[in-house]
């Protein structure tokens, strides 16, 4: 049995219990983050023992000499802007519908959540097959419906490839936000709804003055989570198009990876990563501050 003196120091016990997670976090998250910043100021091919300090040369290179960077940035911004709105609106609608007393709602909840538990790379493979210009589901359906004119090379056409991937992303991510919204809806006070009904609010009034305000924290969480998820979009694009055709589906996270791991220009890859990190921080820091404020207010 441990001595009384040991259990008398709860703060020390706390640190001991935290230590393993902290070590892993420092080693695999904080150290690489710092190292990537250092690397973004260096020139390194990934193999040579020496990396050369080059100052801001990598940053200069990606913004002035790298046409793909700007395309990737544009794609990332579009993707993120749409990904925080479109799938979440669908999720919200689904959550509202599945929060009603409709038959089969439990099974439907599972159905809509199912894509979330599938690995992104598997989702990419499934959709790649469905998009296949010759054997894929979509083109065959269009053909059977006599809509031959609509047939496209969904992932091979530069104009539509990004949005074809985006549709797969929507399918995969809708369930996650839906579950968060459902949890939020279940937290809406039934008495408050009744009070509003007695006060004279109709369905819209109850939604506007009771449901929406109660869902504000949930919306914030959903917004930030999908923001972070979209900014780092990588796996589904990697699995479906690999950034092609002609870099038309290239994203910042994947471009950083491609530069470093495939082209061996680690400095530039790191610089792209740092740009992405800065964008993420600018967006996420206010959220973290907001969370702390809420926590303090709850205390």
């Amino acid at each position: 049995m441990p001595q009384a003196s040991q259990s008398a120091r709860p703060e020390r016990q706390g640190y001991v219990l935290l230590a393993p997670a902290l070590i892993v976090y420092l080693l695999f998250a904080v150290y690489p983050m710092i190292d990537v910043i250092r690397m973004s100021f260096s020139s390194w091919n990934g193999l040579s023992p020496e990396a050369r300090f080059v100052g801001l040369a990598n940053y200069r290179a990606i913004v002035t000499q790298d046409p793909v960077f700007w395309g990737a940035l544009r794609n990332t911004i579009w993707w993120t802007a749409l990904a925080v709105i479109l799938p979440n609106l669908i999720s919200f609608g689904l959550a509202l519908a599945l929060n009603q007393n409709i038959p089969g709602k439990s099974s439907l909840r599972v159905v809509f959540y199912l894509p979330v538990i599938i690995a992104s790379i598997a989702v990419a493979t499934i959709w790649k097959w469905m998009y296949d210009p010759f054997f894929g589901l979509f083109n065959n359906l269009l053909m059977q419906m006599g809509l031959d004119g609509w047939i496209l090379d969904w992932l091979g056409d530069r104009k539509v490839a990004l949005w074809s991937v985006f549709v797969a992303h929507v399918w995969q991510s809708v369930g996650f936000s839906m579950v968060l919204f459902l949890a939020g809806l279940q937290g809406v006070s039934a008495t408050l709804v009744e009070a509003a009904r007695i006060d004279g609010a109709g369905r819209w009034g109850v939604f506007r003055y009771v449901t929406l305000p109660a869902l504000k924290p949930t919306m914030m969480v959903v917004f930030v989570l999908s923001l972070i998820n979209s900014l780092k979009a990588f796996d589904i694009v990697y699995g479906m198009t690999g950034g092609g055709p002609a870099q038309s589906t290239q994203m910042l996270a994947m471009w950083a990876y491609t530069q470093s791991m495939q082209l061996g220009v680690f400095g530039r890859g790191a610089a792209v990563s740092v740009v992405l990190l800065l964008i993420t921080l600018v967006i996420v820091l206010p959220y973290i501050r907001w969370m702390f404020r809420r926590e303090e207010m709850a205390r």
């Binding site: 008495t191 009744e194 009070a195 509003a196 007695i198 004279g200 003055y209 305000p213 504000k216």
Partner: protein, 357 residues
């Protein structure tokens, strides 16, 4: 203000009937309290009046108009909930004015009504606060203010004081009663606390298992309970009930005495003999002996639980007593203060004659 007529109201959930034909007539400006143990149907009845629950059978009419099929907002009622149900994102003023705003009243009108209600409830200094910044008692007052500004035909209160601490509850009790006297409004008020019912109501409706047990003024219920349920539910500590048997021209109370009471049941019938704790006194001369079990001083009086012929009874002593568990005491029962009930039906038996024990 208006009358409320509840006639033959029934409620079932699927095949399960929870209310079996309730009749209550509530006059204009009356303060009526529905009281009973949890699950007796009092809250369900209130919610049916509010329109938050459907009515399975019977009719509810407000001011002579059948409201069974009307939405809550069309019934001209206001309700105060146990957990206050204030809109957290709105200020006190917005909470109070919300119903008027939905009704499309002008800003100036709303402000005038809210200011007037805030004045009555001493909320003026808090009008710009959010509910989260208020204490329980203040929130309760805001909830009442929200009801007052609408000048509804009927006020409905659903256990409004249950979430408050004991001291505040006593204060709010007096405030609500004063409010009723000031507004002369029709109020239906639900509580499980019989003291709240006794102290505030013009008329009490005692409910049990989806039925009305008795309707009357607080003192009518206290002095003439219609049955065993009402007798033991109203009054604190509860009325003592002892088994008894009728004899020719008398009642034999086990362990107490044979009392010269004439009742309208054949000799040999088992009945229940009830007497309130303040009608039993300690009397060293009395041949009726009991053993003290618990002594609870409350300051102004002392509650004593004693075992009498195998039954626990409670008595209230106004005088300070030096008693300990295990002590033997003599007990004297006030004559003519008993209540007799049919053992089988629980119904009150009218009796004549007195006793001296």
């Amino acid at each position: 203000m208006a009358s409320v007529d509840i006639s033959g109201v029934k409620k079932s959930y699927g095949a399960v009937a929870v209310m079996h034909g309730v009749d209550v007539a509530i006059g204009d400006g009356e303060f009526v309290i529905l009281v009973g143990p949890s699950g007796c149907g009092k809250s369900t009845l209130l919610r049916m009046v509010a329109g938050l629950e459907t009515v399975t059978g019977g009719q509810i009419a407000i001011d002579g108009r059948r409201v069974n099929e009307l939405e809550p907002k069309d019934r001209d009622i206001a309700m105060v909930f146990q957990n206050y149900a204030l809109y957290p994102q709105m200020t006190v003023a917005q909470n109070m004015g919300f119903a008027l705003e939905l009704a499309g009243r002008s800003k100036a009108e709303i402000k005038a009504e809210v200011d007037k209600a805030a004045e009555i409830l001493s909320l003026t200094a808090l009008l710009d606060r959010k509910p989260g910044q208020l204490s329980g008692g203040q929130r309760q007052r805001v909830a009442m203010g929200r009801a007052i500004v609408r000048h509804p035909k009927v006020f409905l209160f659903d256990e409004p004081l249950s979430n408050l601490d004991a001291k505040l509850r006593v204060k709010m009790r007096a405030e609500i009663k004063a409010l009723h006297q000031r507004l002369k409004s029709t109020i239906i008020y639900v509580t499980h606390d019989q003291i709240e019912a006794m102290t505030m109501a013009d008329k009490i409706v005692v409910m049990n298992a989806g039925r009305v047990e008795q309707i009357g003024t607080p003192l009518e219920l206290y002095d003439n309970p219609a049955n065993l349920f009402v007798a033991t539910f109203m009054g604190s500590p509860a009325m003592n009930i002892l088994p008894a048997v009728t004899q020719a021209g008398a009642v034999l109370v086990a362990g107490v005495a044979t009392l010269p009471i004439v009742v309208s049941v054949p000799p040999g019938t088992k009945i229940a003999y009830g007497i309130r704790p303040d009608e039993i006194t300690i009397d060293p001369e009395s041949p009726v002996k009991a053993e003290v079990v618990v002594v609870e001083p409350t300051g102004s009086e002392t509650h004593i639980t004693a075992r009498l012929a195998g039954h626990e009874i409670t008595l209230i002593s106004k005088a300070r007593v030096a008693l300990a568990p295990g002590d033997q005491i003599g007990l004297s029962f006030s004559p003519n203060k008993h209540h007799l009930f049919d053992d089988a039906t629980g119904r009150r038996l009218e009796a004549s004659g007195g006793m001296a024990a």
